[in-house]
């Protein structure tokens, strides 16, 4: 059982509630000898922080500074656990007292109450997306491990609301709003988000995470297939409701003769498999997609009950994003980085 720990040889344990003193994590199993500083973690945190998404993003301005407490000596990892803490400086607990006795629809209020009997209702507590900052910090270390082996992980948004992009330039998506994979879709998505926000509503989207430079041979059949662990990694992010590998659901609508990737002396002739066969990487690019649900916090009135079971309605106002994209992108990348770096180490490869 892992619960708040992710990984086998490279294990990230996260902790913290949205409005508690701090959030953070402990990354165990990072090889010794990797140059690492707080600035490395900050890169990912800055990409995930509020305000990055332009209109889609919350107004809450949390600095999100990770302080490294252990595992690094003279600028280099020592092989011991790397602990880091991010203080919750902008807590504003008062914003949330109104929802103390209400189950917000689409949130985990009801189920946390059912499971634990008590619950930190402030800003979602542990179920807040704020927890993912610790994943991003840990994921940046995994990214550095992979970089040593020539593996590069990036993401791009293929859909927002129900507006797909053309994905003509995915490698530079991180330079555009919403991690848009082409220039043309940016304005359309901006308009879409503005409209939705003005209506007090929210939208979702689809994010593709890709890894290049992968060696063949990573993955552990039968249950710890590379596909299975990636699905576990991405579906463990709160807003994700679907995961696809390679052709995904469209593979289910294809013929076997067309879905198979032909093998040639120069390598595979296509990559409908998404970079893995039988749970083991094939040396092609890893391609996974995650369906991101619309943020459940909407200003529109919603039907719900109080914690004591009485009918009521709720409007979740305040400083909420209209879409989890693009702030969720670094989180999804982090989960892929952590998964791939774990398999990298499991394969006996070093850094």
């Amino acid at each position: 059982m892992n619960a708040n720990t992710f990984g086998s040889l490279l294990r990230l344990t996260t902790f913290g509630e949205s409005h508690g003193p701090a959030i953070g994590g402990v990354l165990d199993g990072c090889p010794a000898g990797l140059p690492l500083s707080e600035a490395d973690l900050q890169q990912g945190l800055d990409r995930r922080r509020p305000g990055q998404g332009g209109l889609a993003s919350t107004a809450r301005d949390e600095p999100d500074r990770a302080r490294i407490l252990s595992g690094v000596f003279e600028g280099v990892t020592t092989g011991t656990p790397i602990a880091f803490v991010i203080e919750n400086t902008d807590q504003r607990s008062r914003d949330y007292s109104a929802i103390k006795d209400i189950f917000r629809p689409g949130h985990a209020d009801y189920t946390y109450q059912a499971k634990y009997g008590v619950r930190d209702y402030r800003g979602g507590g542990r179920a807040s997306a704020r927890e993912t900052a610790a994943r991003v910090a840990g994921g940046e270390v995994a990214r550095l491990i992979l970089a040593r082996g020539g593996v590069k992980v990036y993401s791009y948004t293929t859909e927002m609301g129900d507006v797909p992009a053309q994905c003509m330039d995915p490698l530079n998506a991180h330079t555009r709003p919403f991690y848009a994979p082409d220039d043309y879709v940016v304005d359309i998505w901006t308009d879409r988000v503005e409209l939705v926000r003005s209506e007090g509503d929210s939208i979702g989207g689809v994010v593709c995470v890709t890894a290049t430079g992968m060696p063949a041979g990573l993955g552990e059949p039968v249950f710890d297939k590379l596909d299975a662990r990636l699905a576990y990694a991405l579906m463990g992010v709160g807003a994700v409701k679907g995961v696809e590998i390679g052709a995904g659901f469209s593979a289910a609508r294809n013929y076997g003769s067309k879905n198979n990737d032909p093998i040639t002396p120069r390598g595979f002739a296509s990559n409908r498999a998404g970079g893995m066969l039988g749970g083991i990487s094939s040396g092609q690019d890893i391609v996974v997609r995650a369906a991101v649900k619309p943020i459940p916090s909407v200003a529109k009135e919603q039907l719900t009950t109080t914690t004591s079971g009485e009918e009521t309605t709720v409007r979740v106002g305040g400083r909420h994003d209209a879409c989890a994209i693009p702030r969720i992108n670094p989180v999804l990348e982090a989960m892929v980085c952590l998964t791939l770096a774990d398999f990298w180490l499991l394969s006996g490869r070093r850094i």
Copy 2:
């Protein structure tokens, strides 16, 4: 690391190659006092065996009799590991010698070779779907554990090829060919499969697995969310390329105000979340879907290489199914049963 072991408190370890002496499994963590016989395992195995799928299914007739070696005394489980073995009686190794030196497209031949350096090429070896028989046997024990708590798991096929069903009567799907959820689609799917088979090709489909009678409170945030573990479970089945929870990818195309399930004093007013929020079961039905790729073994000529890298073509004839559905359905059910029974025990519930 788990590799060939699945689960936390209820752990199934499977072993065996398609054409080795036997396949089987060890189920550890089953509570004592559960009535269990070989006939219980056989129920699942019979549903998974060749010939069940009518036209879709292979001609290979493997009896698949599970023999229990341990963990049961006087008809009742004792709390010790339940080992079971299924002998491989119909091996016919000669059928496979032709593909010894070839990488079959869409199969794991290439990646197993890359990872392990050696490979049991007979019938796919460990990567054969035959391995899933052990999952089914173990899953039947999990099903009995869940039954004690009033949880029932069943599946139905929502799509074959690109032909969707109407899903008017999913509860009785197991009584129809292809686990069809309504009577009308059966003939259409039968024709579809016949045509594809006659063309030497194959198709895939989508299977929905549902659990009724679920208590609220199962699941372990943040990484071991119920959603995450179900995705891991289903994506760990060879042919699965996508997994959705509840509304899945369509949630990504919806508005927050519409995707949230309203809460009423009588319970949730809808189940777009698929029975879980924040990684914890809500007490509603669990709803997960798996995209099943078309079987890669097709009689049509495929471009590939020999193991020494020379260009060649291959036709994979023989006793292959034209679609993994319906034989994959009991496997997907088994994976859901194992996952839910594991969380059942993790919650401290007894049988």
Copy 3:
């Protein structure tokens, strides 16, 4: 693999180096609803802190205040990870620069260098006994879990140097210097420690940890026997070189007819088994003993080499204890508490 994480359902991950910014831990799996405050953790830390052992103890005065960062809301655990941090306020790195290029005999300098290639040489870094403060803090939570079930864990010292105690009043040992189990031995041990310290040397001893109020039925055969997990727990404390359950090594010198504990209608007539049979608790008191080696840091001159392999000598002066007892006692208790509380939860018992 666990490395810096201990436990199955109740999992303590510790982090931190002796002279890094902080040490601490994350305790995952603690049930919700347990009243908990920083004062609870402090109780154990205060018992472990320097100065508790009278003459045996180091002069370094570290406040060791644990700050809880998560998992507690309104004074009660929420079921989410409990993270705590203990800042390293009294670091004095200058004390240790002299040993930067030397392998101290009996310490982990050589092996950390061999394993990791780099090493935080300040005060032993991760291998410092200071790390155990985090175990004590986590162990106090486990102690509270056990207390809910009526289980009480305490320790007493049965030997110091080679001077055994009479163990006439072990329950009150925590009120005496050295956790002495009778009044008579205190002066003798005090003299012994004074003498050894004056000679620039150190001694070890034997500590017995006992649990009362145990239910029968805890433990998980065959590999996770209660005995095995306790041995793992105690041998994982740096200074421990031997572990015994019940009669221990003396059982090996006894007859079967005399070593067996007779069973009577009133219960077991003796407890040579130490409270467990076949890896499962019998309902009797748990009795385990740990052999604690003399502290390797001695002021006497020791033969060693530099990190580049040249012969040299070293005197490890400074603020070191002359004996790990009594500061190790709360650590050993913590490890037993964590082990028993883990099995408590594994048995499906609640708090």
Copy 4:
């Protein structure tokens, strides 16, 4: 949680009861490319089988033939799980019906009943020493992995009853009765065992397991120290009540200045640490000792109760050993082999 599974990357799961259909195991994580046959497993099983110990040993003659079911193809491991089964051919259940309703002192009858509510009373069921045959079979594979790296594991008996040996020739102990480490003690131990057996009693002893050819750097601080994992491994063998590393309990009675192993340019000048420091191997020989309790099955009359709580007496006659030594020696070696091979793989070393 592991229960019936041992190890991290190299994982042995065992199953089976003394008088069920079969016992066996599944070894997962063995690297591909290792030549392996059933004869390799048989070597260990033959050393463990009844009759090896001369007078000390039971008359039961179980062939103990391991059949490999998977994981080996054309004489070489494939990286997939290696399952093996040992049929229980000589069951004689009738011998045990007399003890069906009695708790045998020193056995696990009482605690299994307390934990599981049901119990296979035939010959101890799962708690029978027979289970260890599966450990020996799995351990032989681990031994072959270690042999590839030049590591050799052997054992010798240092004490039987309370008669110590001189340990002049431990390397050849396996060629002598009782794994005696010198010629002189053989006759004395033989007389001792004969006498004890004639009295209807039993004795225990102490076994030392040693590994030569170890590299420095194996082990995973802080909880998975090499010492901790070895203690866990050995204390998980039913009859073991104490474990020592290196000087063990005698270290607790020594001075720090004398207990430290001096380091010289030629290596360590002594090995009181038993081959590890700070939980990491030092490159010296691994030295661990296990205290083996006298076999609880004695023909002398013992006080006990029936399962319904009535006072009674029991004589456990039949085909029992008078001492677990030497049959336990291969089991202890197996546990050390499995532990070291696991750390070998965890270090990223290959075979």
